[in-house]
Subunit: 137 residues, 2 copies
């Protein structure tokens, strides 16, 4: 299990392959640091689109790129990192209070986002200046 | 939220679309009748493959076909039904003790399976005769 962290972390998923195909798995308390009460599927994203551009106050998220390829820019007190997601063989864990933006989606990309909490518009911080002030306080 | 059922149920997922792409969502207690403690991703399945062919004693599962197309044969006391999954806009809920088999995968199909419980080999019933005896008892 990934140790407690306030940084985005790329977590490899175990892969089981045989003549019937491949399977990767994310299980709570092993690869997945939280139990997802909400799952969403993102698709049909135009290549020039920028998604995300917010932080969550309390919600933990994890992104898997099931098909295609995408980039995730993550910003925290430690600085900015870019992750490329292009297979169901890893999961990008985003703890609360990291700023994230997704872009560079290739055609046909499908991503799955696991979220620890039900949808709550009050959990979003959409103003980058407000977010910076909060993480520095 | 889908009512308590012992039958496989196709559950439509709300879809939110804008210029940045489409998003569908499955949230616990609404579209998702259980909290998934395990998520797995199935891909690279040859067209002639048959997957599944078992029932679970206690584990609830839900399948979303994120890309491509697949068929799921489900058998219960009520008889046999076939579902075609071909978009992230619906989720097939499989309660415990239904017999399910997946086949007819088109090239590039990616499916996501949400499972209520950690992996437990003892939760599987792989013998169809044993399963029939159990559901009739």
């Amino acid at each position: 299990m990934p140790s407690e962290t306030s940084e985005a972390t790329l977590i490899p998923l175990p892969r089981f392959a045989d003549a019937r195909g491949s399977l990767t798995v994310a299980e709570y308390a092993h690869q997945l640091p939280f139990v997802p009460r909400r799952v969403f599927f993102v698709y049909g994203v135009p290549r020039a689109s920028m998604r995300g551009e917010h932080a969550h106050k309390a919600c933990h998220q994890a992104i898997v790129c099931a098909s295609g390829s995408m980039k995730v820019e993550v910003e925290s007190l430690a600085g900015t990192r870019q992750f490329t997601l292009d297979s169901p063989e890893s999961l990008l864990y985003l703890p609360p209070m990291v700023w994230a933006a997704q872009h560079g989606y290739t055609e046909g990309t499908i991503s799955i986002v696991l979220a620890s909490d039900p949808y709550d518009p009050d959990d979003y911080i959409r103003d980058h200046g407000e977010w910076r002030a909060l993480i520095r306080s």
